[in-house]
Symmetry: C2
Subunit: 350 residues, 2 copies
């Protein structure tokens, strides 16, 4: 089947570009001796995770326990969860998972770390825990090397925890200094720092500039989207993920309506100020508004305009949230469908 | 099980409030002799659709063929699709569905209507088609009564189509005039206007002001959300749908991070200007930013502040897109879980 025959809206992935994106980042990180631990939140598809591991990734990153459970069931052996996991039920699931695959987790507070310690002890297992630190994003993470060292000491002294190192997102010019100072503080206690894990696709080609970082977690790079193109880390031609939509209405000369709305594209990227995605065939058109199943397109800047029933290809603003809205993603090569992948870890939000 | 024991993030529905919302709108529309055809895009759950029909709805509204297929399988007998359906594959599915339940559809162009005519003829069935018109929203719909009448004539003269009337969203002060003029134009051809279907929860309590409207389609009312409360059509106490989240990090005195981000709440409502949802227990807190699995909360205006591990209840900005992000919704009464509903029609975007 040709992708032109797929019903719209459809999420499609160019398999050649997908492979090229996987290889490109792996080669770059290999060259700089940085471990690659791709973040599967972008695709949530076990088959793509296996492609990443087969290409040389040391393991994967999952943002949610539910994602990790799906990936472990699918045979992924090494999973990092850069997220504070709290509550008896989640910790029980975590330790259950840790019996089957190598799981490492993250904490940025004593509350989180104490929970891990108790759960690991009850399970009779040793759990690697990295400390999350913040050097500018202002989201999670301890704020100072002193705090990081204090938490690392609690982890290192817990009978069933193992201090795995530090984790941050994203890395920046303050990261190396923070890490070096934390290492210095811990050296006095004889606590080594194994891994320094940093992340993000926006900064992936600068990963080598942070000499302290030993591991990189990128997610979006595998597909690519308009945000990646806009910031210049991927070319439009390298993007593997698109949404195919159909023009379902042309109520006026200057307006088209697509069958892709916020339940296909998400409202992410509204603040890009240039619409909710780019129509590749009509780059002068502007997707100015989304309802749940309608994309409002302003054609006033277009010379050629699409007809009712015409199919268009959308470069989405943010592929990670768009992918998450589809039950299935279709992989194709040279326009021909090769595979349909269920987005297996989608909706497993807990 | 108490809802306090559910893992977060969880989408929960207060069953008493759900029933009250269903009854309240049904009673209002009954009082004004307006047919109630609720839009199931909000919940996508067959069991709730059945509650709406059992309360007196004449049928349901679905935005997507995939939703209609799920609802038909679940025993719903009368479904309206207020959407232009295009393409051989979709039209085949449509006619397949029309063999099993009463399906009516919408068109706003000759292209769409010709497609319906051919598909209905090939299937040997008669398909009711309503004409969509636009009196101000600026989305889909014919622009003038002349256009509406011309399309109605094409439908009425097609051997296997039946002109079902007019459809718009939302209705406003120009709606009645548009309908009356279209009726006048069609009277000359002896074409009656059966149904005038208008929609929306924002205008639901004004539905009786449009004397030409015979049927109302509301979706959001069944749950309610912050947008409904903000515009004053529902009280905060009437809202049945919430997302339960956990505070996973308190990196600074003025910041909390929740385990509910754009993949639990969606980015809708960014333009509300007051954050991505309201924390009921901390109304002075502001959810200022979302990442996929992180909600950034500014606590600077709060006197009392939540602790790490504390659970909070979120009034979401837009329940229809939040509900769509969950695999399951939990129904409870007086805090006790009674039912877990799969969001059966979710992700069936085509």
């Amino acid at each position: 089947m040709h992708i032109d025959q797929l019903e719209s809206p459809a999420a499609v992935v160019d398999l050649d570009k997908l492979s090229a994106n996987i290889t490109r980042l792996q080669s770059y990180l290999d060259k700089h001796s940085i471990a690659n631990r791709p973040h599967i939140k972008t695709h949530k598809i076990p088959e793509i995770a296996h492609m990443q591991v087969d290409a040389g990734a040391v393991g994967i990153t999952c943002q949610k326990l539910g994602e990790a459970e799906v990936m472990a069931r699918a045979g992924i052996k090494d999973i990092f969860l850069p997220y504070n996991l709290l509550g008896a039920s989640k910790l029980e699931r975590l330790m259950h998972l840790a019996r089957r695959v190598r799981i490492s987790v993250t904490g940025d507070s004593e509350v989180t770390v104490r929970g891990y310690a108790e759960a690991a002890k009850a399970a009779g297992q040793t759990l690697p825990v990295l400390v999350e630190f913040d050097t500018g994003l202002g989201r999670c993470g301890v704020q100072t090397p002193d705090e990081a060292a204090a938490l690392a000491r609690i982890i290192a002294r817990s009978s069933h925890l193992h201090f795995g190192g530090l984790m941050t997102y994203p890395s920046n010019e303050q990261t190396d200094g923070f890490v070096a100072e934390t290492r210095r503080l811990l050296a006095a206690d004889g606590i080594p720092m194994e891994t320094v894990s940093a992340g993000g696709s926006p900064g992936m080609w600068q990963a080598h500039n942070n000499k302290e970082v030993t591991e990189h977690r990128a997610g979006t790079y595998v597909y690519g989207d308009r945000s990646m193109v806009n910031i210049g880390v991927m070319s439009q031609e390298e993007v593997a993920f698109h949404v195919i939509a159909t023009v379902v209405s042309r109520p006026t000369d200057e307006r088209a309506v697509l069958d892709a709305g916020s339940k296909a594209l998400s409202s992410d990227g509204a603040r890009m100020g240039t619409g909710y995605g780019l129509i590749l065939e009509y780059p002068d058109a502007q997707i100015e508004k989304l309802n749940e199943e309608h994309g409002w397109v302003d054609l006033s800047a277009c010379t050629a305009k699409p007809q009712i029933g015409e199919r268009v290809t959308l470069l989405v603003n943010h592929c990670c949230v768009a992918n998450n809205l589809f039950n299935e993603v279709v992989g194709y090569r040279n326009g021909v469908v090769e595979v349909t992948w269920p987005v297996a870890a989608r909706g497993l939000l807990q």
